[in-house]
Symmetry: C2
Subunit: 234 residues, 2 copies
C-alpha cells in the first residue's frame, strides 16, 4: 500500500561499552575489516535483524564482535544518529546508539570468532574514530558521567561484591577528579538504597592497610537513587 511512498532506511545499533581499568575510563573499539573506513577504529555495532528488538540487537552485536560476556552487562539506549550523510553507502543508515558498562574487562583470547577488539583509554581514541562515532562517544561519556550522580551505574563497573574504595575509584576515573575518602565513605553508607553489607572484608588494594568491608549493590544499574552523589568538587 505504501511500499514505495516513503524513503527506506537501514537501521543499525552501535554500542559504547565502558570499563574502568587501572584507574582510567576505557572504551571498547573494533578495527573495521571492510569499507567504508576500512582499517580504522570504530564502535562495535551492526544491522538490526528482521524481527529483533533494538536492545537485543545491541547485545548480540557486542557479543558477536567482541566476544565479551553478555552477563552482568548494563545497557541503555543513548541516542539515535541519522544525519543524511553519516554513511557513504547507498540508502540512509540510521543508528541507535547504546551505552553499556561492564565489570568483565577481559577480552577472549585470540582464536575465538571475535573480531579484532581492544580496550583503549577514552582520551586516546577521542577524535580518531570512523563515521560519526566520535560524536557518539562524546555523548556516551557525558551520559555516563551524569548517570553516576543519580543512579547505581557505578556499581556496574565492578564485580558483584566490592569495597567502597573500589566504588570511589570508579567515580574518580569517570569524573577525572580526586574524591575525599572519608566524605565518600560517609555519604555512601548513609544511603540505604545503594549498598548492602555482606559482612565480609578483604585485604585492601595494595596488599597493605586495614581490610575493607565488602558490599553488594542494591537495585538495577540505571535505576535512580533517592539521594544523588553530586559531582561538584566532592
Amino acid at each position: 500500500m505504501f511500499t514505495s511512498d516513503f524513503p527506506i532506511f537501514y537501521v543499525t545499533v552501535d554500542v559504547v561499552l565502558f570499563a574502568v581499568r587501572e584507574g582510567r575510563l576505557e572504551v571498547l573499539v573494533v578495527r573495521r575489516g571492510e569499507a567504508p573506513h576500512e582499517g580504522r577504529w570504530a564502535l562495535p555495532g551492526g544491522f538490526v535483524g528482521d524481527d529483533e528488538e533494538l536492545l537485543a540487537a545491541a547485545r548480540r552485536e557486542l557479543v558477536e564482535e567482541t566476544g565479551i560476556a553478555g552477563e552482568g552487562l548494563a545497557l541503555e539506549q543513548l541516542k539515535t544518529f541519522g544525519a543524511p550523510d553519516r554513511d557513504r553507502r547507498p540508502h540512509r543508515v540510521v543508528s541507535v546508539a547504546y551505552l553499556a558498562v561492564t565489570p568483565n574487562a577481559e577480552l577472549p583470547t585470540a582464536g575465538s570468532d571475535a573480531r579484532e577488539a581492544e580496550w583503549r583509554p577514552v582520551d586516546d581514541v577521542t577524535g580518531h574514530l570512523a563515521f560519526d562515532h566520535d560524536e557518539i562517544l562524546a555523548e556516551a561519556r557525558a551520559r555516563v558521567a551524569s548517570k553516576l550522580e543519580y543512579t547505581r551505574l557505578a556499581a556496574a563497573f565492578l564485580p558483584p561484591t566490592f569495597t567502597i574504595a573500589q566504588l570511589r575509584g570508579v567515580y574518580e576515573a569517570v569524573w577525572g577528579l580526586a574524591i575525599d575518602p572519608g566524605n565518600f565513605q560517609r555519604k555512601l553508607r548513609a544511603a540505604t538504597d545503594f549498598l548492602a553489607s555482606t559482612g565480609e572484608s578483604v585485604k585492601p588494594a595494595g596488599g597493605r592497610g586495614r581490610p575493607a568491608e565488602v558490599f553488594r549493590a542494591i537495585g538495577e544499574p540505571f535505576e535512580a537513587l533517592a539521594v544523588p552523589v553530586p559531582r561538584s568538587s566532592m
Copy 2:
C-alpha cells in the same frame, strides 16, 4: 552490494509537544485520519524525508500536522522506539521520538491545512493514545520534569519576557507540587546564569497586587544550569 542483505525499515518521528495552560501541563495530540488506529488520538508525527535530518523532520511534521508556530520551539531527541510489533503495517517502523516545549499554546483557527489537533491535559490522555504513544508520553513527561531541575527548559514554556511568578507556575504545573514563592524567588535571583532583568515591571496575574519585575532567560533551553533547581520538597 548489500541491497537485500539486511532488513529494511521505515523511519518516523513523533513529537511530544508540551505547554502549560491554566496551571496544568498539557500535550498536543492529533486525531488519526487513517488506519491503523483511525479516529484515535496520537502524537503528531510522520515519515522522515529522503534527505532530511531527523530533527528537521520533527519540526516539519509538527508544523504540518498542527499548524503551530515553529519559532521559539525547543526540541530535543527523546528516545527511539523500535519494537518489532509496534506498528501493524508491513515492514518495520522505527520511530525517533522528540520532546518539545512551546510558549505559543494557541492553535491556528479552523480552516487552515492543519490536521485535527488539540491541547489536552497530560493526565487525561495518558492511557488512551494509539500505537505505543502512551509509553512515549510517559518517557517525555519524566524527561521534562527532570530537565526542569538542571536546565533552562522552564523558560521555554513562557514568552520571551516573564516574571518569576510565571516561572514558578511552570515548575508547579510540571512537578505537580506547590513551591514557596519566597524561597523560589531568592533561589532564581541568586543564579546568575538563568535570568536577566529587563528593568521593566508588569501588573500581577490576578490584576491585583504588587507589580512584578520582568526577566528574560539567558542561554539555550536545553543547556545545563550551574546550580540546579531541586525538586525535593521545595
